[in-house]
Amino acid sequence: MSDKKKKKLTPIQQQYQDFVQKREPKRPVIKNCIYAFLVGGTICLIGQAISAFYIHFFHFDEKSAGDPTVATLVFISVLMTGLGVYDHIAQKAGAGTIIPVTGFANAMASAAIEHRCEGYVLGVGGNMFKLAGSVIVFGVFSAFVIALVKVIVTKYLGGF
């Protein structure tokens, strides 16, 4: 809780906040990091293997193999989300499953499945980006600003 919010609380509420902070279990940061490293690394390793597969058998080159690789990983992750396997892995691996593109697919698929009971248009269509939308919004906005600055600097100001 931030200091600004703390000032507004009554003394008893402050006492309670301190009490909560003491009782909150310490997060096992090192253990979590090791899990995240191993699982995240494994997912990237699988991705590398898939892209090697596409380069070898379907004659993609190293650059164009990225797209089918990402699509395949997304497919696997959505399938595992639907079967309920992904969340079990995610509980242990934390960021190891959230940071790779599979986590993005998992967020979308789980939101879609969860809200299906509200109907296909309002439920599935409306909620699909509920969790994953922030990534797209901030990604696109920052990319827009960066690309704009870069274009102006390199094209119109003659570069550095």
């Binding site: 997060r27 940061v29 979590n32 990091c33 995240a36 490293f37 699982v39 995240g40 690394g41 990237c44 390793l45 991705g47 590398q48 990225g66 797209d67 690789t69 990402v70 699509a71 997304v74 497919f75 959505v78 399938l79 989300t81 639907g82 934390g94 960021a95 190891g96 959230i98 940071i99 790779p100 593109v101 599979t102 986590g103 993005f104 697919a105 979308m108 698929a109 939101a111 879609a112 499945i113 299906r116 699909m128 969790l131 994953a132 922030s134 990534v135 919004v137 901030f138 990604g139 696109v140 920052s142 990319a143 827009f144 960066i146 690309a147 704009l148 870069k150 274009v151 102006i152 094209k155």
Partner: protein, 116 residues
């Protein structure tokens, strides 16, 4: 050798995410959004492409590559069409990930039932 570096670099990016979540107490949504912005900034300085050359899928699979790909698409289109290309080209490269996620996610909602 690229398999080894894919594992190490991909794992390290995930560790950075884990530290952001555990030490700085960010939610997963904040963490992924921040990493996407970091990826976009790195590509703005031309630093992400060497990482992809070095680590392969270790750099393309984590969500940071999403920001990188957005900038890349925008820049490629901007070089062809001028400043308007920044808007028209932004999804050019990331299309695979997003459309795959939408299509498969929708199919999953047709097939699977919520367990909660």
């Amino acid at each position: 050798m690229i398999f080894f570096w894919a594992f190490v670099v991909g794992g390290m990016i995930c560790v950075i995410g884990q530290i952001m979540m555990d030490v700085f107490k960010l939610t997963p949504a904040h963490t992924t959004s921040t990493l996407v912005v970091i990826g976009a900034i790195l590509d703005g300085f031309g630093l992400y492409e060497p990482l992809i050359k070095f680590a392969g899928a270790g750099a393309t699979v984590p969500i940071t590559s999403f920001g990188n790909a957005l900038v890349h698409g925008a820049m490629a289109e901007a070089n062809k069409m001028g400043i308007i290309g920044v808007i028209t080209g932004i999804f050019e490269v990331t299309s695979a990930g997003i459309s795959a996620a939408i299509v498969f996610g929708f199919l999953a909602s047709l097939i699977f039932k919520s367990k909660g």
